[in-house]
Amino acid sequence: MSLQIIKNTKIVLFGALSILLFSLAGSRANEDSYIKTGTQDNFDSQNPQNFFSIGARFVIRYIKSSYRNDPFRTFLEACLVFFIIWYVSRQKYRMNQTEVELSEKEVDELISEWKPEPLVRALTSVEQTILTNTPIINSPNTIIAELSTGTTAINFTSFDFLGIMNSEGAKAKAVQTLRNYGVGPCGPPGFFGTLDVHIELETTIAQFLKAEAAILYSQGMAVCVSVIPCFSKRGDIIVADEKVNFMLQQGIKLSRSKVYWYKHNDMEDLDRVLALANQNSSKKKGSIPRKFIISEGLFQYTGNIIKLNKVMELKNKHKFRLILDDSLAIGVLGSRGAGSTDHFNISAKSIDLLIGSLWGVFGGAGGFCCASKELIGHQRLSGLGYVFSAAMPAIMAITASDSIKRLEIDYILLLSALRKNISTLRNLLNEIDGVEILGDDFSPVIHVELKNEHYFKMIKSSNTGINTSDEISRNQMVEILCGITNEMQNSGVLVVQDIYIVDQEHNVPKPSIRILLSGGHSIEHLEKLSQELKKAIKV
């Protein structure tokens, strides 16, 4: 409705302008009496041609006489006319220039003939399998989880890398927070949704990462989707790693900037693409566009770690800025666990926009972005997920804040436990035949891919009669992995395969089993995992 007001006020202003113009015109026309007498009787709307020729005569005479009397006024009037023409034509602008003229009857026919596709397609059998095999947990999501089937299992699916979540202490604190703050803050941060605990959490994050300032977003998914379009707009340039996670891809898509992809973690290719992007943009006239490199710190899809020192060098060389999604690295990498900047001993302040999550390793909800004060201030007004969504519940903010504080104190213990587990498990898994273990030696995200030969072997041994001659489809792989994870779940190890929305991913990875390792796992847990994996893949 308010838009109506604005439209109507536009009309009012516009009307006022035209009245002004035409009263001027009218008064002038009155002076030129011969025009009046010459035209009055001929004004006949039935005959448009006549009408127009008279109109043209009227206009020409009018301009001539007015120019004689007062050239400046003519100029003003001409400006007004142009303004009006511009205004009207602007409103009439339509995307559809190739419109076809149709009669009402034809329109009705077309409408009754039109058959839409169904809203959603039916799930394929593989998709159905994945859905029905989704594990359902019936207890806190800790190292040992109780499944809805009634069995318990060692849990390798939680991003709780430090193994500190859902502890008794955290629960007690959560209850206390509940009694002080309730659950939801009932409003977006701008409208009385900012709690004191949010401000404290933002300070805690900035201090922990040694960044200038931080802003909270209430869901992990919303961070990238808000931050990237907030700074990178149409006409700007993004150079992104081809294996960045889906949230970053969505942010990039929403920004409508020009995207160039470089080979995963390949610095030579990055150098090449940056040069190419610069070259292409320098061809265009006008001011230089904003240019960003987008990458992850610890890649969710591969478990690799960014070569940050090299990226920084290239970024400075080609005058790009860096948007770094350090969601998985923070709390894991670095001497203090402050992420990839800590790992490479680079100041977090030198990363233009640093994105992190609070829902994983810190066990809260949402995520954050660290940047200079000015950029954070800008996000508070233009970060869509910040402005237009409810603030984070106090319970989640306090839980996250406490985890960060715990890491600040206990980092030596927590990180060494995690690292020991990572190297133990990687060693164990590397001994297994037929699989490929992805990821960096520091990465607690471990993707286990089956080698193609092994898929063939498994298909043969299962005797399902599938033709195994040349290639296996993605669906077959997924189904086999489903079987493997199921078997492992039944024998007490909870792992899942990494699931993607295949047709929307930019560069969808090969199906794999995703193991998320925690410092809380014991050696026995790891041994059991590798044993069960061996058993399930039948080597």
Binding site: F43, N141, F192, I499
Partner: protein
Amino acid sequence: MLENPVSETFLLESFIDSPALNSKLEVEAALKQLPAVSAKSLHLSQTAFKQFNISTEKNYKNAPIATLNPSKPLKAETESLLKCATAVLPEEKKQVSELEQVPIQTLISTYFSFMILLIFAHVRDLLGKFFYPDQYKSLKEQDGYAPLISDFESLWNRRLYTRISDVFNRPITGVAGGHVNLLERTSKDNNRTFQLTGKKTNVLNLASYNYLGFAQSQGYCADQVEKMILEHGISTCTSRLHGGHTSLLSQTEQLVANFVGTEDAIIISMGYSTNSSVLPLLVQKGCLLISDELNHSSLVAGSRLSGATIAVFKHNNPEDLEQVLRKSISQGQPRTHRPWKKILVVVEGLYSMEGELCNLRGIIALKQKYKFNLYVDEAHSIGAVGKRGRGICDLLNIDPKQVDILMGTFTKSFGAVGGYIAGNKSLISMLRLMAHTSVYAESMPIPVLEQVASSLRLIMDDVPECKGEGLARINQLADNSAYFMGKLKQMGFLVLGSKGSPVVPLLLFNPGKIPAFSHECTKRNMAVVVVSYPATPIISGRVRFCLSASHTREDLNLALKHIDEIGDLLQLKLLKK
């Protein structure tokens, strides 16, 4: 081109505008007013003609716009107006809007104020850049880097928003219930930075979306949440398909489906991403998404991500929607003219900035003929409207199954956060597997989930020890909303919104009055939300009151008394007789 400033169409539009005239009495009252309005419109068009310096009698025929047609005798015109109005009124429950009565000088002065503000902003920027280039460095190209925040974009923020930024992002502590603790803050550098003074004031809360008053730290819901935290922990630390699916989630989803009245439902941990990540799954390239022009930012984000062609129809106007539909179906896709794969119409149940209920009946009436799918975002209406609190369908007596996708959030009426999608089984199974949030984002935290479940059980009257509490809340809210809006209207304020809406926006117009209103309210211990551009059109800055079931009549009377004073102080009673 020669459109009359206040044409009949406009006047008529305001009649057919908002869908919430409830009783027959009101319909009759509205009808009685019609002749008066039409007389006014006649008068206005005549004035306009005089301004054109053309005699009305002689030359009106040549006027190029058909609406300028005062030649019909007044009576005939009234009759035709009446016919139009009656054709729509009984069915759609239309309401007389007061918008057309906004004095023109208010609009002009608002534009004028903005002009002055902008001129000053530019001048200050110009001088600043000249005298203190250092402070403006980040706005210029430096060393081969383009500025991150463009000059023009930031002008608004630096020069206009910063001036009044003390009324936004105000920190609070504790529960955002009927009253809330506001943390006092000061600024020593003209609102660039703020410092908390450590002082707390308890103020009446007319700002939070706490419609049913479930923002509580005590009572049934809080007890249940506590129990659940102790049993099931806090967070699942992973996404739904990767081990974050809990049995509590399944149960709550079933509860939501029962409540909304659909086969199935899926819960997603954030309302914003519910929209922004589900729309891309429903429509893709080759599909058409038709959106109400005032749809929420999350819906806009989702539409853009989907890659579908986007068309917009006039706010809450099924006639315009029909035009858009006819045109797009008959023309097909742009350039190729291939038929559309499917068409999705996206509307909101209650528009939160306008307090306006969706004209759902009018839209559903088109569904059969035009075969589109309908997506209704019930973020604000679920829980808050309808006899049983079940949203717009409940209010308008529409079978929820007629709407293909019912979306809603738990942020508003349920005192939690997150969102849901409800619909038929095949839709929801697809979303469980493929909604971006199922795969890539956190699943709903346990305390939040339990808050949703327990508040739903209360509303559905499923808790023996709290029999009738949910219904009492719904009625209290309806009562409060009607009372508050009625009183404001009586005082002569320009209030937007449908009757029965728990959101009551009051137009302020002039930019100067926006912070002033907020400050005056703070002085009188009330928290209110003032909104201005970019959340609203530039001209219609407003204050938005959100009613809650936890407000008592005394609270509201006190608030009304204060608002009355402020209204006199700031000359806001534009419709005062």
